[in-house]
Amino acid sequence: MAIVTPERPDALAPEQPLNVPARFLRRPTGYTPGLWGWMTTVDHKKIGIMYSVTAFVFFLIGGLEALLLRIQLGGPDQTFLRADTYNQLFTMHGTTMIFLVIMPLSAGLANYLLPLMIGARDVAFPRINAFGFWVFLLGGLFMYSSFFLGGAPNGGWFGYVPLTRNMPGHNIDYWVFGLQILGIASLSGAVNLIVTVINMRAPGMSLMRMPIFVWMSLVAQFLLLFAIPVITVALFLLSFDRLFSTNFFNVAAGSDPLLWQHLFWMFGHPEVYILILPAMGIVSEVLPVFSRKPLFGYQVMVFSGIAIGFMGWGVWAHHMFATGLGPVAVSAFSASTMFIAVPTGVKIFNWISTLWKGKLTFPTPMLFAIGFVAMFTIGGLSGVTHGVVPGDTQQTDTYYIVAHFHYVLFGGSMFGLFAGAYYWYPKFAGRMLDERLGKIHFWLMFIGFNMTFGPFHILGLQGMPRRVYTYPEDMGWDMWNMVSTIGSFIIALSILTFIINIIKNRKPQEVGDDPWDARTLEWSIPSPPPEYNFKEVPLVTSRDELWHRKYTEDEDGRSVRREVTLGQEKMAGTEVEPSPAEGHEAPDHMEGDHTDGEGHPDGESHDEEQEPHIHMPSPSYWPLVSALFLPVISYGMIYKTWAVAILGGVGIFGSLYAWALEPATAPEDTPVHGPDTSGDDLEAVPV
């Protein structure tokens, strides 16, 4: 459907169509600068950056909470923190690190990279993408507002009933509604990324040619899709009990408190695979690049990731071994827990084999990736010991468990995410981070991390339970607690090094497209990428497509650099026929896929000097506006101010309605790049 608009002499200031009400309500255009530009962006790269920066700030806050906990526990019988303050801090530390740090960091990286890695120009639903970010930010702020409004959640990150059902005050309500809001963000991200990966891969990119990070993120998104609804149900039941005195978890009315635990852990166990799979994907990208050979066993790595995703649904009650489920149930889950170690262990061996006989260099991303393999192994091994149920009846709820999950979540996920940060920073920012500071960061973090969490194994074996705000002095726990506290400050120092590195390297540099001599498509475009990502939609002929373009193999299977990188020869002045479809008979296009169905961007000119006319979806403020109503509803519900809750509900429905009526690309919007030289840049707006 062609749209006719009035002439536009000045591409920079689109003429206002007749019926737009007021200037400030006018939809922003692709040229929107400054803060309003970020607030209305639908560019997956900007959204990815916002996710990552916000999550990093929460990481600092969660880390501060941890330092406070460690100060309190640095010695016996300390009074630095009161009991209830400690309980709030440990609850928020866990909730923050899981929901406000690792999940959004993984989402942010996936957001930025998945389209680039599959050769797409954006995600399937750019506005939903933005919505997911704003909901995350507002959910986190909402939860943290509790500190100033009566006290932060204090029932543990797992919120067991009946304790949380009957907890006075609103602390738990903030936890419940905060997580519901965050769940909406996760679900919208999951739907978006799944549709993107399934539908928007560049021609030739079959599933088994996708970069492994795409695969692991995809599995994680499917896990989110099915796991978040479970905790949503649990949280609804709990909130109804608290707000409306229903009896889902009322023991006196005949309920079984274990119902909460089953629901929570049916979410909670897939959740931990959500937390680790993306980081495993990152490691699987980084190790090959700095070993200069492919990921060993790509197919096995894909299938083990899928296997972990499936098997992860069958182990949840290993969090409940001491609850009295009976020997049959407990034996079944013991077996399933042990066997999930098989696909996990297979990955470790494949990573080591990737290094084996490689040509290894050790820039900072490689250090973190190798660190991941080493530390995750430790966490995985302690995890297997938990699977031995009689042993677990001693280990569970002690610091031995705290050791396990910090080794897999910090030594695993966080090390993996830092590997990704150092690896992709040049692509995102167009500058390299300082190598020396990076190495200092790594070694300080490695030492500090092991000093903090290594002793937890010993403390657990020596009988120190979890979630205790203090301990007496004759328990034999003093020394290792002190060592751990010192270690935690070394971690803090390492993070400071990272921050200094980022600040010191603010000046733009010329890093080029491919500073690492890497293997995947995101390194085939400039650093940072232009808004449209790919000037031409790439044609993919193999896994590790970029490596294949740069290198061929000799008879020993060793890489030999091609004289001309494949795909470059088109740039050497070869004329390409203009795309026939000026008519916009586009088959099912997704938002953001602004091609004419034949892989050519619309109206593309192949003149080196001229930027192509690639239409990108227009910015929009509806994602932000709709997101704002979610905390409004929540505050209304918590304080039982129904008018506010209803206002929020009406607001969000109104916003979603307005959003739905808004086209993906504003008809009056101009091409993102380049002046109109084809004489007709009028674009059919894809539905």
Partner: protein
């Protein structure tokens, strides 16, 4: 000089490490003191050994790889190896077989520990925020904080909760089991030798979760029988004109009896039975040794000592003199 420094640093590290291992830790479960804990420990020993071997293997391979295959100027581009099916099958099957070997004794042990023992002393344990109640229904004994048990004979625990989920744990004697309101769980303990076995609540149960400790006291069978006999007796009546007697009056006046049972005197169910309070070595969830100084601290302000605990003294604040008399009364409750 530098060599001595390095040696000193090494020995200091070693010393610290060993000191950590050697320190006396009463809740250490690697030092079982009874057959149940020992059975668990025996199962875990080979598991830890296997884990240790795998740890050394994996970390060793990583170290070898990063040293042996580090890039040197003369090293050629590596062969672009994509995989090896035989290896994949091998390192899938081998761990699976090892885990199978672990799973079999694991499941056997699970079922074995689930059996109710013969000739047991039956005790009902009730978890409260933030203290443990023990009811020996067959023997007609009610007490709190300390689980007295005969040596060498199983103690079969029926585990209930009065409010939220707690977890009962005496590490040297057995693994833990949750007490879940609305459900009854079971476990059993056996102690090899007389002595005190420390434990604590191991499921976050509220503000003073850290202050909900546990203690099992194993005694020679004859001593246990004597203890039972003493506990079955009625409450000692304080001699008239003594501070203890004045304390007993305050006990009623200040509302203590509303929460605490003293046989023949009061019937309260919210707090521990105090009939034989003076025979106990600890109080307040076993965080305090039972002595006058601690009792004074407690009675002056229970909330300060144990934040969030359920003891609100109706007749608070108590004067120092009133506290003295109450302590005398409590000390008389043998």
């Amino acid at each position: 000089m530098r060599r001595n420094c390095r040696l000193a640093a090494l020995s200091a590290t070693l010393f610290l490490f060993l000191a950590g291992c050697a320190e006396d830790a009463p809740q250490d479960f690697l030092k079982p003191q009874g057959p149940v804990a020992r059975q668990i420990d025996k199962l875990m020993d080979p598991v830890f050994i296997v884990a240790g071997v795998v740890f050394l293997l994996v970390q060793g391979l990583i170290l070898v790889a990063v040293i042996k295959f580090r890039s040197k100027p003369e090293s050629p581009e590596p062969e672009q190896i994509h995989g090896n099916t035989r290896l994949e099958v091998g390192w899938t099957l081998a761990p699976a077989l090892i885990l199978l070997a672990v799973a079999v004794p694991t499941i056997a042990t699970i079922f074995d520990l689930a059996q109710k023992p013969e000739n047991a002393v039956n005790v009902t344990v009730i978890g409260h925020q933030f203290w443990w109640e023990y009811r020996y229904d067959d023997l007609g004994v009610v007490t709190a904080n300390e689980l007295r048990m005969p040596v060498g004979r199983p103690v079969e625990l029926t585990l209930n909760s009065d409010d939220v989920i707690h977890s009962y744990w005496i590490p040297a004697l057995a693994g833990k089991m949750d007490v879940v309101p609305g459900r009854s769980n079971r476990m059993h303990l056996i102690a090899d030798a007389p002595g005190d076995y420390l434990g604590q609540c191991s499921e976050f149960c509220g503000e003073s979760h850290a202050n909900m400790r546990a203690k099992a006291i194993a005694m020679a069978p004859r001593d246990f029988d004597a203890w039972v006999a003493g506990q079955r007796a009625g409450a000692v009546t304080a001699a008239p004109g003594t501070p203890a007697e004045e304390g007993s009056t305050l006990f009623a006046q200040k509302g203590c009896g509303g929460c605490h049972t003293v046989a023949g005197v009061s019937e309260g169910v919210l707090g521990p039975d105090l009939t034989h309070f003076a025979t106990r070595t600890t109080f307040a969830g076993s965080i305090f040794a039972n002595n006058d100084a601690n009792l004074r601290t407690w009675l002056r302000d229970p909330q300060a000592a144990k934040p969030g605990n359920k003891m609100i003294i109706p007749g608070a604040p108590l004067t120092p003199d009133e506290i003295t008399k109450l302590i005398a009364y409590l000390n008389s409750l043998r």
